[in-house]
Symmetry: C2
Subunit: 339 residues, 2 copies
């Protein structure tokens, strides 16, 4: 089990600041989530049923019908590795750590690969796993580049696994519409853009045989009935999606600008977070936490790792949050200059 950024409760205990007083920027989740209406009471009572409208709404939203609803990307991340006999797996690093963890658990030989090394490793790899846009670096890969790698891997019976957890703000860059294609696996989630992390709903796009294997492996009723209902409505709410995309683009730019103004120029980012590298990342994380602002700190524990210590900043959800972050960054900046 890995540690996760969502653990606000732990920080609250550690810093002695009540839960309600935190500005939680640690998650990369849209702070202005899709507004969940009252769920019909009946949804809690019956076993979840396939094809209750969720699959249809997802087909329309993602632009492909070869999909399987799962209990968040995490469920797919854990379920994919056991479906192959042990093989050589290249995993983008830095990146969401659960991928490498899951492939190692299933006894594959996992190599961490930087974005620059990806092209070189493809010929020596059976499965390539990456996140697009990457978390936390914000690195992006074009569909052309990805399909080129996929073709090389698929020709040898390999897989390209693309985790698109942060893709909803720029859906035209998604590989979902190229599915099904032998050896191409795309993961999506309602946790980040829709802000529905508590609902545990995601989708896998892949060839039908692989989706059948995943379904058999995961078993029935993995997505709750209320979550299915909520996800169905959210995926069909086109006007909200359009507005959210515009808002996230503005807020992400605003966050990058704010960080830059205080001397913390981001090294990357996407619509839902900005990424700041610094040898003082650990200290910054601590100083911000003392003011009740939780960021996500990345520090590689891998032997020989060269990725720099860094902080990921999610978006504040309201003007009070923006002002608090502004003030905290100003204080951090002053302290850094004085030191």
């Amino acid at each position: 089990m890995l540690e996760h950024g969502g653990r606000l409760r732990v920080a609250a205990a550690r810093y002695g600041i009540p839960l309600a007083d935190w500005l939680d920027l640690s998650t990369g989740i849209n702070p202005c989530a899709w507004p969940v209406p009252a769920v019909p009471a009946s949804a809690w009572l019956r076993l979840p049923q396939d094809n209750d409208g969720l699959e249809a709404a997802a087909c329309a939203y993602y632009g492909t019908e070869h999909l399987l609803p799962v209990a968040g990307s995490q469920a797919a991340i854990q379920a994919l590795p056991p479906l192959r006999p042990p093989c050589r797996v290249g995993v983008l690093h830095p990146g969401y750590a659960e991928h490498a963890h899951a492939w190692r658990r299933a006894r594959h030989t996992v190599t961490s690969v930087s974005a620059k090394e990806l092209n070189d490793i493809v010929p020596q790899t059976d499965v390539l796993v990456l996140i697009n846009p990457n978390n936390p670096t914000g690195a992006r890969f074009t569909a052309d580049q990805l399909l080129h790698w996929h073709a090389q891997l698929a020709a040898r019976g390999g897989w390209l696994v693309v985790d698109e957890a942060f893709m909803d703000a720029a859906p035209e860059e998604s590989l979902a519409r190229f599915c099904p294609r032998l050896g191409l696996i795309v993961l999506r989630s309602l946790g980040k853009f829709f802000g529905l992390a508590g609902a545990r709903v995601g989708f896998v796009f892949a060839e039908p045989v692989l989706l059948d294997q995943l379904y058999a492996h995961l078993g029935p009723w993995t997505v709750t009935a209320p979550s299915r209902w909520v996800a169905t409505q959210a995926l069909a709410d086109f006007p909200w999606q359009q507005t959210a995309r515009r808002r996230l683009a503005l807020d992400s730019e605003r966050l990058a600008f704010l960080l830059k103004c205080h001397g913390f120029t981001p090294h990357g980012g996407c619509a839902l977070f900005q990424w700041v590298c610094s040898p003082h990342a650990s200290e910054f994380h601590d100083r911000l936490a003392r003011r009740g602002i939780l960021t996500r700190r990345f520090e590689s524990r891998m032997p020989g790792a060269t990725d720099p210590p860094s902080l990921r900043f999610g978006l504040p959800g309201d003007e009070t949050g923006w002002a608090r972050l502004d003030a905290a960054l100003q204080a951090l900046s002053d302290a850094t200059i004085c030191a």
Copy 2:
């Protein structure tokens, strides 16, 4: 993947009767479920967090603190078999078929055992899996008997797995309070008694090391945040639980009496269903379905199986339902006598 009784949708299509017009007695789920209040909107937004109150409420309700919340009993049923190297597993038959299915999938040697044969098979078994009270037969096992079998199994490093999905109406018979005990694994669920099958919440009771293994195997966030919130409230609603127990006892007796009056004397049952054996079970199931009443039909597909064809009847939820069932059983009874 096995077929399940909850698939009302399939029956609706097959018999050309709209979903809303069915009296669904196929599930064994309490038709008068715990009344779910409005869930706080915030529950959908954040990742589910351990120790948010759910574990504490469960400790109080079940009377033991060595537990792990899981996404319904089904999640535990699938996760347990891979935690042991292939061994000899005795599974009560007839019984909920997912148990045998899951142990076979994990390459164990599974033997189907009737209730009468259980005592004899223990010495030749590493894992014994049973349901108490059993589904669909309603057979019950005393705590003394179960602990006796458990002691024999545990002495050889074996497990006794007791699925108590239908135990909440008679909690004094549960083995949960005897946990943790090496090699004793008890499964509970909020799907049946609380009627919250859509929420996917259950619990595993076992020794701490095994719970840790299960947690690592299942991964984080398996129970959604809204489901955690709902389950926490339901487990703490002592007055509702008391009333529900009294009501289920009366309704179960009423159902048994109604069936008997029409010549379909149950061979067993519990608070949430009655079980009727008949060589004509398949025909009865069909005739009831033509009138929009869905029951659960059991017919062994195992070679050499001697268990009789049977029907399981869940409880109607209101007087209209009772009257409909009464009329349908009368018609069935008339047709059977005429034939």
